[in-house]
Amino acid sequence: MSVEAREARQPWLLLSPALTAVVLLLFVPLAFIVVYSFWLRTATGADQAGFHLDNWNEALTDPFYRDILLNTLKIAGITTVVCALMGYPAAYFIARSKGNKVILLLLLMLPFWISYIIRTMSWINILGVSGAFNSVLLSLGIISEPVQMLYNETTVILGLVHFLLPFMVLNVYVSLEGIDETLEDAACSLGATRWKSFLEVTLPLSLPGLAAGGLLCFVLGAGTYITPLVLGGPTDAMFANLVFEAIITQLDWPLGSALSLMLLAVLGALVLIYNHYLGMAQLMKGLG
């Protein structure tokens, strides 16, 4: 083999293990559940292969699934907006602060490393019947009986915001860091107020980071089932809970396949729209 041919082959040799893994463990399985979603689980528990539309018919027309899907999108949407409102000013502060930026960022990265399940359950200590909040209110005499503040939609959103906020701050921070600070000064020297120069210069330039953070918050939020199980009540199931129920509890795997694909279609469409307008590069910057 010539030297050139060997040079050209080398990257493929290096790439092949990872590419094989992704194809065999992600793409082929995804193709498989597309086929599987047209099979039927019979009463005996065996799968009946074939081309049956029953699962899709149930998943797409049953108002039960539609309502939970809409509710999931609503919860993810509120979570994303709250993350943006809380996270943007914080990211702006870190990006523009003089000096101890490294410490501020490191502090921000810490929650990333703290276990998701620990962070989620930690709210039980705060808001539970015998949690910190109740014990403060009781000792101040504001309430005479402990109040159950947990296990509703608000606490699900609270848990999600707590989980996803660092993603938002990090992405906004990365895009703010890329903006030349003197641009704002220039706008000011041309007569704009601080606020106006922020609104017309900095904010528009940082929108790609805001969008990347928003996408991550929305997609990760809409795909969770642990948070509703830990912090939600019986009626706060999200769409991923339905998938979990179908696969693990009811063992109706063909129906579970159809529900998974529905979730993938909705969230995948968002990723594609994002990719079309902004490209993946911004997202990778925030993750890497």
């Binding site: 080398q10 990257p11 290096l14 790439l15 293990p17 990872a18 590419l19 893994a21 992704v22 463990l25 793409f27 082929v28 399985p29 995804l30 498989f32 599987y36 809380m86 996270g87 000013p89 914080a90 702006y92 502060f93 870190i94 929650p111 490393w113 703290i114 276990s115 998701y116 399940i117 620990i118 359950m121 930690s122 039980i124 200590n125 015998s130 949690g131 910190a132 014990s135 707590h162 906020l165 701050v169 606020w195 809409a222 795909g223 642990i226 830990v230 991923a240 998938v243 979990f244 693990i248 579970g256 998974s260 979730l263 993938l264 969230l267 995948g268 990723v271 993946m280 993750l287 890497g288």
Partner: protein, 261 residues
């Protein structure tokens, strides 16, 4: 005025992020029978009980083994792929990058279902092996992103110099490239380990009955009521998952400094 408002807001955001975690740590030292307020005294008893809880120790061992194996496999795959992407002019580079990142673009629940059902179809049942495959595919994109970012900084001329002085490509890789890569490899492994150690979303789908990792063990314990033991376990996890990366960062710095870089 505006700046002070932003500062105050940021402080509130940090309090929001850290208060619940701080309360977990605080309550883990609670002497009281229940995992809640009011605190009745300072005690290590829950850590002692933790150390004697066979189920939790087993979960810890499972998580450690799973995380370590995931880190080794995922980093091996990830470093090779990153080398190809950074060092060579691969045709279709963007498409390949997107393919390799795909496992984090797909919601984890969907990835979990697809992998479980497909491998089951191939008669590979819920097992430790399935858990490992799942954790590898889920951590691979993170490893590739981290390693690629570090690789860009390593200059190619050092390797070329070695080769021009007569080293074979294999010699060059082991004596020049690999030592230079060490911080990237280390960062990749640490990242993969931490993500694997923390994962619950996919793990609940893939784990066989009777096998628990630390997060699924905590999740199972939450079903009863929140006991001080969970808070103690949480404190141990926080110390581990925060301490390890910080330690790793320090070691990586030292390694970089020792090289004179």
């Amino acid at each position: 005025m505006g700046w002070n408002l932003v500062r105050a807001w940021t402080i509130l955001v940090y309090i929001f992020m850290f208060l619940p975690v701080a309360v977990v740590v605080l309550l883990s030292f609670n002497a009281s029978q229940f995992g809640s307020f009011p605190m009745t005294g300072f005690s290590f008893r829950w850590f002692v009980e933790l150390a004697q809880n066979e189920a939790i120790l087993r979960a810890f061992r499972t998580s450690l083994v799973l995380g370590s194996l995931t880190a080794v496999v995922s980093t091996a795959l990830g470093v090779l792929a990153s080398l190809a992407l950074v060092r060579y002019n691969v045709p279709g580079r963007n498409v390949i990058s997107t393919l390799l990142i795909a496992p984090i673009l797909v919601p984890e629940v969907v990835l979990a279902v697809a992998l479980l059902l497909f491998l089951n179809f191939l008669s590979i049942n819920k097992s430790f092996f399935l858990l490992l495959l799942g954790h590898v595919i889920f951590t691979l994109p993170f490893v590739i992103l981290v390693v690629q970012a570090r690789l860009v900084g390593i200059r190619r001329d050092v390797e070329e110099a070695a080769m021009s002085l007569g080293a074979s490509p294999v010699q060059t890789f082991f004596q020049i490239t690999l030592p230079l890569l060490a911080p990237a490899v280390f960062a990749g492994m640490l990242f993969a380990f931490t993500i694997s150690f923390d994962d619950i979303t996919g793990t609940l789908f893939w784990k066989p009955g009777g096998v628990e990792t630390v997060p699924t063990q905590i999740f199972a314990m939450l079903r009863n009521s929140i006991s001080p033991e969970i808070n103690a376990l949480g404190t141990v996890m926080i110390v581990l998952t925060v301490g390890l990366p910080l330690l790793g960062l320090a070691i990586a710095r030292r390694m970089a400094a020792a090289r004179g870089g």
